[in-house]
């Protein structure tokens, strides 16, 4: 098992090196210093900025240095350009919380709900409920993600508040809902989380559910045709037992793949949601830094996003090996 994990880790190193190479090259196509300072900057200013960022060195040296920073998680030494007093590491630190507050619950809820709905659809395959669900999903998938977000915010926040006086959800903004240290010590305030994060999470779940449910249903339906199901039915197992005990277990591999695949989708979705609900998360910071040409932040954030992604892929493979021992040998 450990040999397998180690092998997976080693395999993904060239991939991560490739990502960093690509991102660093792409960010240097246009002179980042010039893009940030504009055409009115003096020669000295440009040179100085370039020097502090190390952009005057050969590309390979920069590549090595940045890789060193990423692998030692040393983001404290580089300062952001738009917030001169803050280091990239500080920005990263304060942005991770809000993003996790949306992404993690959304991932969990989406998975549980869509597996459930997928099972129901597969269980009643061809019947009215299955067909209605599938039609609904195709219709929903044909509407832009942004429309769901705009209407979700309007009806969830503005409409409820103005027409019915219900103020459950904020139409935007964020406040930390976990506090530690200070006078209060460790405290979790779920009310604040619900007020700021529940609506984005709900929208995120609805967005991801269409694709996921369709996929899980297909997986379940495919499993239905397998021999072991026929055997189980022949031996007299009830349909319910076959469905939930035999099939769900065997469908684990595609389910794990899917959960992990939907991870970047959720990150992508959370960029939009963070932007729309003005939540100060990582996605929002990335888009901000792009509009403000804040080169150090863009570079570091992309590297972190990619790292999260690569780690999730490795985790997927490890989970495979846990669920299906045959994988370890191949």
């Amino acid at each position: 098992m450990w040999a397998y994990v180690l092998r997976r880790l080693l395999y993904s190193i060239p991939i991560y090196l490739g990502i960093i190479l690509f991102v660093m090259a792409a960010l240097r196509v246009n002179d980042p210093v010039y893009a940030y300072l504009g055409k009115h900057a003096s020669r000295e200013q440009i040179d100085q900025k370039r020097k502090t960022m190390g952009l005057d060195q050969p590309f390979l040296v920069q590549y090595g240095k940045f890789l060193g920073q990423v692998f030692t998680l040393d983001f404290e030494s580089t300062k952001s350009w738009q917030y001169e007093t803050k280091s990239v590491g500080e920005i990263l630190g304060e942005r991770i919380g809000p993003t996790a507050a949306i992404t993690v619950p959304a991932l969990v809820v989406t998975t549980v709900v869509s597996i459930g709905v997928g099972l129901i659809a597969a269980f009643y395959r061809g019947r009215l409920i299955d067909r209605a669900l599938m039609v609904l999903i195709v219709l929903g998938m044909s509407v832009s993600v942004l429309v769901f977000i705009i209407f979700g915010q309007y009806f969830g926040a503005n409409w409820l508040k103005e027409k019915h006086g219900i103020e459950w959800f904020a139409s935007g903004g964020y406040e930390p809902w976990i506090s530690w240290g200070g006078t209060e010590g460790f405290r979790v305030k779920p009310g604040i989380w619900v007020y700021y994060c529940a609506l984005p999470v709900l929208i995120d779940v609805i967005l991801a559910m269409g694709y996921d449910t369709r996929f899980y249903r297909a997986v379940m339906v495919e499993e239905t045709g397998r021999d072991y199901i026929t055997t189980a039915v022949a031996k007299g197992a009830t349909r319910r037992k076959v469905m939930f005990a035999h099939m769900l277990k065997n469908a684990m591999i595609p389910i794990i793949t899917r959960v992990m695949i939907s991870f970047p989708f959720l990150i992508g979705g959370s960029i939009l949601l963070e932007r729309y609900f003005r939540i100060p998360g990582m996605g929002n910071a990335l888009i901000d830094s792009i509009t403000n040409k804040d080169f150090p932040v863009i570079q570091a954030f992309t590297a972190v996003f990619a790292a999260v992604f690569v780690l999730s892929v490795i985790l997927t493979d490890v989970l495979y090996a846990l669920v299906d021992p045959r994988v370890r040998l191949s």
Binding site: S142, S144, T291
Partner: protein
């Protein structure tokens, strides 16, 4: 010809034709493509004649091609944030519209130099509507409307039941404002009504015209991104699967690398890379889209590449390929003549999936300010409608969503039907 007739009578095509929903979807797609071609032709003729503006057809009827060109879609046609025809507008809003027209005329009439004033007045143009009165008449009518408009101030709320008198006065004012414009011929009146049918946005531009014009933009993005990505994916995937060895290693490394950055992040980085470049020029609608195309193609080719690589691995072990090898055909020949054509159905399916993905991605990118920057698009319309939605005005977001919904739904149905027809084992 023979290839076509063989494709038409193939088993998969027959299955597709039996699926009525798929045929209907195909019809919808054809209508959209026809509109897209039409709009392209309109833009080309407009560019060729140097036309633009609203005065290129003084004959009263106007060429059909000239109703929807980029210039017209971007021009003001009426008051700001007017609602569509289904929604009865409140008297307060109507009064605001009267004020809008009035202020446009007053701005011109305030000029001191008489010649200048006349020219300015003549240049007032809202969609098909042009000024139909002389300077003196306009001055008189504008003064009357202004005093009339002041009288309306007596009423606190024009929509209140007590303000019936105010509302009749308002109707008169509207008629007077209408008389400032030249009467339109039947055809042009129809075109103008069509422009206002779904209301206007915050800059007074026609929502309906913009929603229709965006069809062209969407199809352009979908076609270019879909075709290029499928082509890249097919060539790389087939080569990787067939040759194996280091080619396979490189292709696999390439796609696992590119797919390890979330799409949106990658696109954001590429958008940054292109800023300030030759393509970052909003005056050239086509050129300014090239970064968007490049960014989408860069991630979208991965899907078809994986699928086609897998299919090629399967195909190359089949007897017919081995027969071709034993006859002595070269490997590139076998790849192009025997393997790629047999992955055509996968290319089809992937193309229609990517087509949808590209159109939907445009919306997201445009909202984030990284996508379409010049000219209308569904993404820009939906993004710009945010403020309107909070005020309960759903016309712009609705128009863009419905226009997009029909196209994407048709493609969704078609790609499902394609999958059913070509891959009987696939569970949709």
């Amino acid at each position: 010809m023979r290839v076509l007739s063989r494709a038409w009578s193939s088993r998969a095509a027959r299955k597709l034709r039996r699926n009525r929903l798929a045929v209907a979807a195909l019809a919808v797609i054809l209508v959209y493509f026809f509109i897209g071609l039409w709009l392209t032709a309109a833009d080309i003729t407009a560019a060729a004649t140097g036309g633009g503006g609203f005065d290129d057809h003084r004959d009263g009827r106007g060429s059909l091609f000239s109703a929807l060109t980029l210039d017209k879609v971007e021009a003001r046609v009426g008051p700001l944030t007017k609602r569509g025809w289904l929604e009865e507008e409140s008297a307060e809003t109507r009064a605001r519209h009267v004020k809008y027209y009035l202020s446009r005329f007053q701005k011109a009439l305030r000029l001191k130099d008489p010649e200048h004033r006349r020219l300015e007045l003549e240049s007032i143009r809202l969609g098909e509507r042009t000024v139909g009165v002389t300077v003196d008449q306009a001055t008189r009518i504008a003064a009357e409307v202004e005093t009339g408009y002041r009288e309306l101030d007596r009423f606190d709320d024009l929509d209140a039941p007590a303000a019936a008198e105010g509302r009749t006065r308002l109707a008169e004012l509207e008629a007077q404002v209408g008389s400032l414009f030249a009467p339109l011929s039947g055809w042009r009146q129809m075109v103008y009504d069509g422009r206002l049918a779904l209301g206007t946005d915050r800059q007074g531009r026609s929502t309906s015209a913009r929603a229709i014009y965006s069809i062209k933009v969407a199809l352009q993005i979908g076609l270019i991104v879909g075709l290029i990505s499928v082509l890249i994916g097919a060539v790389l995937g087939a080569a990787a699967g067939y040759y194996g060895g280091w080619i396979d290693q490189v292709v696999q490394w390439l796609y696992s690398t590119l797919s390890s950055v979330p799409d949106l992040v990658l696109l954001a980085v590429l958008a940054y890379a292109f800023t300030g470049s030759y393509f970052d020029d909003n005056s050239k609608p086509f050129l300014s889209l090239i970064p968007v195309y490049a960014a989408m193609c860069m991630t979208f080719w991965i899907g078809p590449c994986r699928v086609i690589r897998g299919e090629t691995l399967k195909l190359k072990e089949l007897e017919y390929v081995q027969a071709a090898r034993s006859i002595g055909f070269s490997r590139p020949y076998i790849l192009i003549r025997h393997i790629l054509p047999n992955t055509a159905h996968l290319m089809f399916i992937n193309f229609s999936l990517l087509f949808i993905a590209a159109i939907k991605f445009e919306v997201v990118l445009s909202f984030l300010g990284l996508g379409v920057k010049a000219g209308p698009s569904w993404g820009r319309m939906i993004g710009e409608a945010t403020q309107e939605v909070i005020n309960g005005n759903f016309w712009q977001i609705g128009a863009a969503t419905v226009a997009m919904f029909l196209l994407v739904l048709a493609f969704n149905i078609l790609s499902d039907a394609l999958q059913d027809a070509f891959d009987p084992k696939h569970v949709g």
